[in-house]
Symmetry: D2
Subunit: 339 residues, 4 copies
């Protein structure tokens, strides 16, 4: 790395943004937060104060600031597109929390803008790519330790949902991680998506279909099933079992201290994604900061094309949810720029 | 139990029959083998000799023998129907290895014959109902420990298949266990079956689609997915994870001595179904022998109706396999006799 | 086996005796209970009735009965010696619950009597030798899978103790199992015993030193440590980790269905020794019954010499407990009869 | 934190020093390496170059440099004392890899110097205090979740030893971690140490007694046993099971992806301490850097007194190793400064 710290502007001072501000300020080497932008400027100020940064009402003021070397976008997905386009235009590296944008059309515009700019600047926050177990699973699959991959069995559970969480959000906010995981682990695109569900849990809020089972077919003939259950009650759990021709590998098995007490053995379930993936987030940010100081992005991370492909899979998923039918994913041709 | 040993006639002296002969002779209390019938009388004699029983060429000679109190049928499924009808007519309790019969029509004839006889005589060898872990899972579900059941995730893997094993047999011989397990655990019928598959493993013999994923919908709105992979290469593995409204429970986790050696930790995978379910078979036979000495069947076991329902689900499964479409299971009305 | 059932006389109708009566009656092939002897004849009758056997007030009446082919002794250890000597004199095979006798002098008299009789008739109920995991561990050690054994780490925990349980009984009733396990797994004698302890648990009854740590040195230079904790509160747990030159193996890891519920993952701890070792007891009895029908004992089981050696180790253990000093075990020369 | 980066001088450019240089340069927020001192100045330069720092031949030049705000000492233990005294005199915070010094007398001199200086400046690198599982175990013990602690069972295994590794080093280099762990987890001092061992492994180099079992008594009456096995062959393994009055908790259980392959289930053993405790080191350094920027030390970390107490326990351990006798630890009175 160069001697100079990477000066980061953060857009979005919600829960995720606040978490990242602490991360950058307290745990990331060679980087510091200089500005926090949020229309709710009080919220921005609160986050900024903890990190000795300044607060801005206008996110674009952060993007345009001459002392901002790189951007973290943690605002709601619906406002990502103009922020990303502005950042690409200015040529600053961006770590954008998923989703890239909420739909594939706008995602494709980001892809095209980046391609036109001719420089990889956009990274999407699919943090599982930095979880040590997932990294090891990818290594095994790439090395052929299990033979060719045939199936992935995925489980994605949350203890409960905030008010207003919809069945569509189960795809866009939750299963989007499995879409990216499958693409990344297998080096294949998603070809089609189907969605089925049992009767809903009594713990699911009115109107929410929960749990659901999403089935994914990849271009390489792998079948992926995903249980998404966002009101499971007992904690946050993310598991993936890869089934290959000669063996299987499971990531996300229970871990932590093993207690014997009161007639039971076992341990604690992780409470939420920060508890489960905190180290992965740190890794992701540290590697991104290192790459951004060189003006680029981390090649191990998800880029704009990955964000676009995930958005396209999500759209197919929501359509499949609505129609009950197997739905093919339509992808633009992959530009050589993203080969 | 009464003072008198239960005198058992065994029909079918193949691998399964031979295994059961040893079981009855060496491990089951209050029962002894008196006759073994198999068209291949040499094979029958070999099995009979080990258990101090006599060999018969004609299976019906075993059914009709005056010193036979109860029957175990371990011959191929295609010959079950006439054997079962003869046993029902004679009024002797029968423990019939699965399948009851190979198709639902003939199974229904057995059901009707038993109902006409007015006495429960037929038990089907779904041994998982006697596996201690499955029994505990059923107890939890019945007690509502996990809330209402919503999903079952099942995995059923064999190291490899014998010559001649077909994709249809993956349903009839293998997934039939999951059909029965789901019906029993949930106290629900199977409403519909779908089958999908990834590209087949290079280890699968020519013509075999392996692995496959079977999805089951139950009359109570539970969704069950079953990975059936009969050439997985590494051993025999049967797992079932029940997902309820408030929690999950998994049976079939890895067990046995945990070894650290050569940079690895872990243990042995069970080699085959005898290794995995040996204790369950013993339990099944011991309880059946106890019930048969009273002239009846074990109420905890699968009966003729269960055999019929499993056959109907298998037919739907094979149809779904062929057509690629979700296929509904058509069941006769359940007679009060089987309530 | 011969055609004739083994006719078993049971002496001792306490908890253990009652358990064995059910075992013989309901789960053991080729054997039946004919007589139950206990000075408390009501208790004897209760146990006998359930198994269609007769009750006797005088245990020697059971030993002398002409219709008794073999004996199970489940009475208190203090009365074992005369019963065993009478059985040896009559030449009937005996399965004697541990301890063989409560002290090494009387145990040696049993050894000498059996040797004088010139026939192996006595088997001691160290059931762990029939637990599938221990059997596999023994196989690994014998095969050298882990290299030469160096250490054994043992844990032996009970939820709580009945009234009157003493520190000495922790050695004689509990650690005696580890003494036999170590001798059997290693094919070595116990050379010396030391005992240490931390402050006692507040849950330990007045006067009981609980937990304790017993250290054993074997004649082959293996060091064995045993945590004995009889009021651990949470269940029954028996674990043994063998450390060899190239690897380790652990038996007794937690098993059973794995549940996720209420923020926790895990399962149930076995409640007591019947829950943990039920299958081992069944195996032990079945194999013993088979051998006894041939007039002998099971070579895989513990014999009189093993009972004697365990008693000698227990005496050293209690002495070590009292003096706080390392105490050597004094063994008679092993007769060729027990080679 | 203040706006200014903490400027760190590193003394010792061996394996550990090089590892910490990378850590500071690439993963620690708010800190940077400015100087690396090692008598082997080529080695120093190599390490310094990777972190854009300067190399020094004379460690004291690093301590005295005006641009060094804090020190990391990773040189051999025998040279720690003068370095620490100089740092204390200059008033700069020091993170000193264990041991504080190689004997209790010199450690006490460091303690006294720090006390005389009147400011907590010295932190000792017992990184387990920052391992998430150990932190959770400490929380449980402090909260009384398991009742009062009674026993600790510890296992500490390395795949193999470098040339020249001695039996004494097994205490000073390895078990010293368990001494600190026990003191920290229990908030008690070590009262006495005993050492025993089985026959040595054939894999142990000539002259090395390996494995050994160290038994520790604490001032609060807890008994701690430690298996130290430094040529176990299969990897690096550190486990600790705390046994309390109402329950037990184990840290260091096997983790990582679970693979089924070739008839086996399981995963990889961690290869070395960096693999096992990398995250703990990062945490330790990050927290220390934060505290050092305020001019102090991390209160959660081990201080000079802890380093002294560990050295005293090591001395007792080595004496116990030599004499074969239980050896009491003699500690100076704990000054109020370290209360």
């Amino acid at each position: 790395m160069s001697d100079q710290d990477l000066r980061i502007g953060l857009i979005g001072a919600g829960k995720m943004g606040a978490d990242h501000a602490v991360r950058i300020h307290e745990r990331i080497s060679g980087a510091r937060l200089v500005a926090v932008g949020d229309p709710d400027v009080d919220r921005a100020r609160q986050v900024a104060d903890g990190a000795a940064a300044r607060a801005e009402h206008d996110p674009f003021a952060v993007i345009d600031a001459s002392d901002v070397d790189a951007l973290v976008i943690a605002s709601p997905g619906v406002v990502h597109e103009p922020l990303l386009l502005a950042a690409i235009e200015r040529g600053v590296p961006v770590l954008c929390e998923k989703p890239l944008t909420p739909d594939s059309k706008s995602s494709l515009r980001v892809v095209e803008a980046e391609e036109a700019r001719g420089k990889h600047l956009v990274q999407v926050g699919f943090m599982r790519r930095f979880d040590p177990e997932y990294v090891e699973l990818k290594r095994m699959l790439d090395a052929g330790d299990l033979g060719r991959a045939l199936l992935l069995h995925c489980v994605h559970r949350n203890a409960s949902t905030p008010p207003g969480f919809t069945s569509q959000m189960m795809i866009f906010d939750s299963v989007v991680h499995e879409f990216d995981t499958a693409r990344w682990l297998l080096d294949q695109e998603i070809a089609a998506v189907s969605v089925r569900w049992p009767r809903s849990s009594a713990a699911a809020p009115e109107g929410l279909i929960d749990p659901q089972v999403v089935t994914v077919e990849t271009t390489g003939g792998v079948l992926v099933d995903v249980e998404i259950f966002v009101n499971c009650g007992f904690g946050y759990q993310v598991r993936c079992e890869a089934v290959g021709e000669h063996g299987t590998a499971l990531v996300g098995a229970d871990s932590g201290p093993v207690v014997h007490h009161g007639g039971r053995w076992g341990g604690n379930v992780t409470a939420d994604f920060r508890d489960r993936f905190g180290t992965a987030f740190d890794q992701e940010f540290q590697r991104w900061a290192g790459a951004a100081r060189q003006g680029g992005v981390d090649p191990a991370a998800a880029g704009a094309w990955d964000g676009y492909a995930a958005a396209a899979a999500c759209e197919a998923g929501v359509l499949a949810q609505t129609t009950g039918a197997r739905t093919e994913v339509e992808l633009a041709d992959r530009p050589g720029f993203y080969a």
